[in-house]
Symmetry: D2
Subunit: 294 residues, 4 copies
């Protein structure tokens, strides 16, 4: 199977359920909304070592937000129990503290409502206010008044969408990964939570040599030791592999992101092969076939 001269392996990415909340952050300028959104979605690449997975979903122009100011929607993804705390803390520490911001329910879905009781911060000086037809709280702070819609919708979404880009040079694979992330950024409903959207260090469960390790490098996909690894998955001539990991609010979003990302990667010169990671269907119920990406 080929697309634009690149080999696509006939395999699939294996996704699994994750809880996803969408928060809308607006500010007086695009830049300040971005700074708040970036801080709020930092240290959030993987639930293995971070408290959650999070990322910026997309820019919202003034015409798309309740207070008619520019904004960004972010997605916060993790287990149901942790989600409540993560949404609250990331808003309280990274958005409430950011100049001129306001927070609205991004309505990821109606399955669950996460309460974000920040109005108590107002110590009695807070008041109810309607903004764009929405009931909000207005909390007096140093910078002015912080507006917040205190209920944020969460939905059982999909984690673990992924594909791997193999390049004839490290830079071919890297720029292709960047192109994939750029393309996925235009797909609503999903994020690529790793730094710059790209994973450089894939892992396997456990370790053959160090029994105390819960995870270790996935040697089969490491080009620099391909000659030493009997069951290497690195084709001849491949110098680097980068993975794109996708979380989304539903299967359709992850599907669309996989398609946009794979095609974008295949348009960068020097990409040799695309494959995807799965656990033989044992981990999750969602299969994203690479053949559906072209």
């Amino acid at each position: 199977m080929e697309f634009n001269g690149v080999i696509l392996e006939d395999t699939y990415a294996e996704g699994f359920p994750v809880w996803v909340a969408r928060v809308v952050i607006t500010a007086v300028s695009k830049e300040w909304a971005y700074k708040a959104a970036t801080e709020a979605t930092g240290f959030a690449t993987s639930t293995i070592g971070c408290p959650c997975e999070a990322g910026i979903e997309k820019f919202l122009s003034a015409s798309e937000t309740p207070d008619h100011r520019p904004g960004y929607s972010i997605l916060i993804c993790c287990g149901k129990k942790a989600l409540k705390e993560q949404v609250l803390e990331r808003i309280a520490e990274c958005v409430l503290t950011a100049p001129t911001t306001a927070v609205f329910n991004g309505k990821a879905g109606s399955e669950e409502i996460i309460p974000v009781k920040l109005h108590f911060f107002g110590d009695g000086y807070e008041s109810k206010v309607e903004v764009g037809g929405i009931q909000c709280w207005s909390i007096p702070i140093m910078g002015g008044d912080f507006i917040i819609e205190e209920e944020v919708g969460a939905v059982k979404g999909v984690a673990g969408g992924n594909f791997l880009i193999m390049g004839d040079s490290q830079m071919s694979a890297l720029v292709a990964a960047e192109a994939a992330v750029t393309a996925i950024a235009d797909v609503p409903g999903c994020i690529t939570p790793f730094p710059g959207g790209v994973v450089s260090s894939g892992s396997k469960v456990g370790s053959k040599k160090y029994k105390f390790m819960g995870a270790s490098t996935n040697e089969k996909f490491c080009p620099s030791i391909a000659a030493k690894v009997e069951d290497t998955e690195i084709p001849a001539g491949v110098k680097a592999v980068y993975e794109i990991v996708i979380d989304g609010v539903d299967v359709a979003s992850v599907n669309a992101a996989m398609k946009a990302g794979v095609q974008a990667a295949c348009r960068v010169p020097g990409v040799v092969k695309i494959t995807a990671g799965n656990y033989g269907g044992n981990l999750g119920p969602f299969k994203f076939q690479l053949k559906d990406c072209i």
Copy 2:
């Protein structure tokens, strides 16, 4: 006391000790080093609700790094016990996973060495390697080989440097805060951990009305309710207050940052007054006098 026509209150910021680790992150490009550094220092505005305080200290040109690639140094600040975990997790989840990065000891100080035993991730395929005269580990990963110096120096530094900018309009105060952050970015040894470097919502300990709250809005510094707050600190005509909070490796760094920041803020039209926050000397041993800033 005045500087450039702006009133400086004769008061001081009260700093207290914090443990600080400096990590150097390099990459094939300035952009990728920045992306990794941003992810690694996210969700880290205040130890009240975040696991640590962290930020980018400065850009390092290729001539300043061990592997002669562009990089950024970051500071991670928190209690001694939490620091070890934060340094390890933020490197493991946000830098190791980022394309083309390497990690070196930024040598915040020699008081303590934090071990970052990431080489076990290599599952036996790792090897020792010398880079720029430094003993490192080379860990095979999908993107190539991840180079890491596994010992990161930490030092007992200073948290809580701060000053408050009062403006005749919200935007005067905001742009002045931005100018202060830009100026402080050029001062080595310190960071401004809040979103975009600025604090919009100052807090007081506890709450008068809601006893279950550990902190609540500092109503004395809230312009929108100045008329309702008897002991308000808001001068007539002030529409907004933004705070700059500074953490540093030592007193001298925070002093230099206070000076650079205060002066920069005072050069923005519409800034009316600068003051600083303290707890009467009960919280910390370090006093940063505003009069020393001019």
Copy 3:
């Protein structure tokens, strides 16, 4: 007339015809397309002293371009005669020379086709090639092959859309101007050609004192000398005025941009009044009423 508490003067912006060409620039990454587009639209604020007016119209995702790579569309605006040269030179010097770029006809309109005969640069090594169903030339260069569609459509559009933002502080007016530019960036078919989209120095035709000057400061709109200028247009309390100038492919685009920009500016705290510039209807046939902006 008021919007969000801001006074709108009952006046209009006076637009006049200008020739507009739209060029689509794609590249291997969003960043490289942006760098080429920025270089190609530089030194192009006003036809008074620059060879043309130009700017980035909008980002195009991979799904919107002929070669399925990310890109930007730019508008180049000036007199009909100069347009041909400006389109050719700006493509030849600023896009052909930029890594991985391709150029396509942005189809501003069908009134005129500007030939861009760059294939001769190939010195006989060039060849015809079809990209996304479009006949293009492929020109061998150092970086690979440069793809160009050699016909660029131009249309008789509209220049001189404008409005002026008056603020209670310089920073209120400045941030409002930025917000207006951000909002207009989402409106297709138009650009704001000045630096960062904002004009700081309005001019009047000629000079009262220096007869050799073709233009000089419009003293009626200068806040710092309001007390000295008898017929000043500066209301009490206004500290700064910034103007947004808009060029577009047609009246509808400029209308939409005026509306989006005025409303966005009015949402920034500290904006006091919005007005617009005209010459009593003597300069151009297009009137953009501020009352139609709300």
Copy 4:
């Protein structure tokens, strides 16, 4: 000759004299100084088709500028006669018009002083003012007062510093070119005037096939037609070539830039060879040997 495993050809770049003016642009924020500097240095890649060559030299922190605000220095390079007009027009159209900016003499050298008589724009409302010990004009404009030092120093500098980066993939060469540009950005006294600092389309004088062309593609350095060009300079396995062109205020600056750039490029994986362009010493008096770069 090798550096970091990359072949350096034993050749040299041939530089020639050019007039260079340095202008310092400050603003209320780093961002606005950057926007003005970017506009003022646009459409300025090569004097072959642009009115001049120009670029941002470096960021200046508040402590380095006369008005203690953040800024950028730019270099404008061309023939002596055109330089006066280019400096004047680019300041008048791209900096005077940009919000909050001021202009100071960057003192490229004392050989020549370019007068920038912008104070006439004030129409008699202008006044002399001292800023940071420098005699300036203060010109009332809509945004406030525009401060300008009306004499800008120019010096006979050096154009045409260059080197060519050959990669085993297009992306290897591209990222190496970016790395070179990043490294050169830290070298004072020089610029890389092409888009993003990189040249994708090298040219030769004249054309073999089209006699009316003054310049055409340098087929010897075009990888995609290497098999058809008898005297190709493309080594086996090279997929792309990018050139870095450097202008500077003196030989030492260009030397330092060549060294920093070549070394940075050689640290990117996949770079095969570095060479440089010259005309056998017939064009210019300055020789920059690649062997001096390591």
